[in-house]
Symmetry: C2
Subunit: 450 residues, 2 copies
Amino acid sequence: MINTLFLPELRDMIAAGQKEEMREFCAALHPVRTAEFMEGLTASESWQVLRSADREQQQEIFRHFDNDKQVAILELEDRQEVARLITRLAHDERVDLLGEIDEEIGAELLQLLPAEERRDILRLKAYPEETAGAVMTTDIAKLDESLTVDEALKELGRQAEDLETIYYLYVVDTTDHLRGVVSARQLVSAMVQPETTLGALMETDIIVADSMEDQESVAQTVARFDLLAIPVVDPERRLLGIITHDDVIDVMRDEATEDVQRIAAVNPLNESYLRMNLLRLSWKRGVWLTILFFAALLTAFALDGYQDVFAGAEATWLVLFIPLVISSGGNTGSQSSTLVISGLARNDISVTDWWQIFRRELAMGLMLGTLLGTFGFLCAAFPAPSLVDALVVPITLLLVIVCGTTCGSLLPLLFQRLGLDPAMMSNPFVAGIVDIFGIIIYMNVAIVLL
Amino acid sequence: MINTLFLPELRDMIAAGQKEEMREFCAALHPVRTAEFMEGLTASESWQVLRSADREQQQEIFRHFDNDKQVAILELEDRQEVARLITRLAHDERVDLLGEIDEEIGAELLQLLPAEERRDILRLKAYPEETAGAVMTTDIAKLDESLTVDEALKELGRQAEDLETIYYLYVVDTTDHLRGVVSARQLVSAMVQPETTLGALMETDIIVADSMEDQESVAQTVARFDLLAIPVVDPERRLLGIITHDDVIDVMRDEATEDVQRIAAVNPLNESYLRMNLLRLSWKRGVWLTILFFAALLTAFALDGYQDVFAGAEATWLVLFIPLVISSGGNTGSQSSTLVISGLARNDISVTDWWQIFRRELAMGLMLGTLLGTFGFLCAAFPAPSLVDALVVPITLLLVIVCGTTCGSLLPLLFQRLGLDPAMMSNPFVAGIVDIFGIIIYMNVAIVLL
């Protein structure tokens, strides 16, 4: 929903070239809101307004534009002005953005940047996607341990506007090796003794991330230690950059979405559903559907082997309950595997708890199976020729549901043990296994009882 | 996995009453790590060690103990000492904790607290679960706008140790109405002009949360505006407390887990899988399983109506493909509904996009249906009496899969429109609808073609 409240006014300002008014508009509200009010403007109109804004506001508003608008501005507007904007963007965000624009224009813009900024961009670009190095930003406060509290505060005051965070000061030696961390809180508390050095104040047991570490594991560390930012180091413990809390929130959101999509057997989209190319989307869905299709095809083979069981005139009523048996097993199985997957993701449970989990799920299967089996018996009593025949349905349901809870809980643990992603592999496999077992159990119970 | 590295040493220290050594142990590492090293100790042993720790470390380590240990310490250790610990805990965490211990002991402990702290706890306890008020903490820096930068820094230095965050200063009037916010970054940048007042520095377009707002919506606001903390206000805009970034990360995690569990048709557990009472767990699972069971039962009724279609000697092969048809429709449907649910959760799509989503899913269903239909035809060609007969399977698959993608995408949108939780309601409903349509389509295609 586009907010049109200020659009006419803004267009008037652009037409009349009222720079001062546009500057005031950009300064009046929170940058996120300002960006939202400009959603209805074209990229070029938005840039007209933004050019009049103060330095700091300009980049704050720009980073909250939607991606398409950012790309259009970088590609179409005056190269010199755009290059100046790029020098002011957060170091991690501008790398992502430059990766999305036309390559030639990107190369031209790179040439217009100061050498140091260019090097920084090229260095960050080299990290593989979804690693700590690819998410980190390099605009951090690195200080020497001999600095006093007073000097550090002054230094911070000078740099504050350009830093991504001022809430941790990183103490490094002359070759950038991380020695310690001082939080802004410690610094402020220590103001009463302004001559204390950072070396005396700093914590040396520092939680760090390796630059090649997976972003999800970094996010978990940040959450576990309640950090505002985590330093990223190379194997020699040289400070390369930091990952801040807002990036961690984004990572956690993306990973949660990926998990949900994997559980529903879709390869993670990694982009907006509505914008994604239909062929790419159908590929991401088709792969798993095909695998699941051939898993389900095994049920046809299984049923084929039992044709004489349900083809007899007395036993066609058995066919009525095939979907019910299969879906009850599948639903219970997907409950179990989802509970185990989300437990693993939250570190509530670990692979070593497997025996306890197995016993719980066995008990759960017996309880749920008895419940649904009772319903099943009442329903089967009508079409079945005799009450003894009708017993086929509840007995099958009980066994299938126990099979669902136990397979559903143990398979994700097995996948985790094997180093595979439990979210990716479990639900489809559980569904396939329970379907086939469901048919085999149903038919064999029928053979025994009828 | 319990880390046993320091256990013997710690036990020796406890036995010998070496207070100084225990104090040093508590100060040496990051509190999270210290708490982990103490995991193998009993609650009473842990408390022995913790009693020797410095004030600040004591509460930092305590808050990272697991829940059971915290409760045991509060319930069993010396009331006076425990009460002193409680006064130092974060205001939001101690309310949660007091809610979990024995009621009588809780009342006793409350009586031992200073009147102000007691009032604060009772006030926070009054907010309904999962609202902003229940998540917020009340230990914040409230300052007057006439304060200068210099005075504010000094005041902050005095309070820093007791505050949950020092990264935003909240400017209030004499009756606590929120007037503005100054970030620590602004304050530090303004140090060169120490006589500037907070009133001149503060931002007045403040993003706030209402105390009764749902925690999930608050978390989304914080993520959208990249905040470190959000102030919580009452309807008169009086400042009640703040919610900090680490609580937001926890909320986002909990909500993601809840969504995953709902999608798999489990009522959210809201507690650890392994600790949960089996009867409660079976209730949370059994409710939806029963609903899904009766939905699946409709397939039995549907099949009953078509007994003469598949009971004929020529057509029993149709039975073989019943599970395949149903599971293909179900899998496609759950893909579609999960994509729409996660798109809604991320604000990538909204209900007003329904027509675009419908067209996309229709196209997707035709593509995926053609793919799986082709496989299906190849498989049905063998058991079917003729190739024309075999066409029943691919045509059915195509129709069922289109039904799956369209129902799967539109139902969550419909539920959202009706104000229901799309994650809760959609997948079970989609599964039920697609199962029944699957049977009806299959049988009617068979009637037409055979």
